[in-house]
Amino acid sequence: MSRRVRVVVLAAGLAGLGALLGWAVAGLPAFGDYQGPYGYALDRIVVPLRHTTNVVMATTFDVRGIDTMGEELILYAAVLGIVLLLRGEVEDREERITPGSDALRVGGALAVGGAILTGLWLVAFGYVTPGGGFQGGVAVAGGALLVYLAGSHASFSPFRNEELLDPLEAIGAGGYVVVGLAALASGSAFLTNLFGPGTVGSLLSGGSIPLLNWAAAIEVTFAMLVLFAEFLEAYVVPLARSQS
């Protein structure tokens, strides 16, 4: 198809798709009138059973924990794939190192500390208040990357060490599966919550939820680090310099 024909055909198709979706929406209850039983039941069952106050995270890591296992492995497989796609071609790259100014370093270090602390806090309290392994993991990885952006390349190098990152990432993804298998080995269903529910709304609530939450956090943090490192290698620093 030439581009012009494509746009015409596409417009017709999108009009049709839009009409279909509109037809479906007309059959929905009005916004805010949702009455489905699933979420309602979870809102009432989960807190007494698990003592975690964040029902979304309890859903993510316990009630529908298998979805999250799949999700962690999606992230894992995607990062493996990206490594496979990108690592080959940048082998002969030259190392480009820019020493940052002292002020930049101090500021960078502070920002890094802040981001990493925020990330860890998000992970730690994820199943009590908003937050969780994914959100915290991305924040921690982002914080670690600020080191790189602040220009002190040397201090970022541990975060680029494949021999360190790959096993850690695998421990996060595999750890989730192992927690699931542990329950199976003890005679319960896969991913059964094995520990007592603990105190309502505290860090000791939720049984296995904190374990899975931390496994996810580890997986996400190191997946993101590998991801960023693969993409950023030797490119962002020159970019930052050329734009400053």
Binding site: V56, P130, G131, Q135, V138, G142, M224, F231, P238, L239
Partner: protein, 100 residues
Amino acid sequence: MTLATLVPLQATVLGLVALGAPLVVLTRDPLRQSLVNGVYGLSLVLLFVVLAAPDVALSMLVVSAVAYPLVILAAVARVRAGRPGKDDATVDSSDEPEQR
């Protein structure tokens, strides 16, 4: 927050999101687009907050403030660095005749 203030707020944020999407799509230069996309991401964060979904809002926040920009900017930089001097990463208006 009472319903009286929440509903107009939701409508406003929905309007922002609805306006943001075509802006992102129609910004054809990837570098500029990643900035517009960042702003669009923040409007989504606001929307999720007013839809009582703080966890999703947080996710969207870290994704649109950390993950997307880092990956996109790095990709843009690498695409541009690929062939020095010739910046055809942003060529999008070159509607040269095609034989298809």
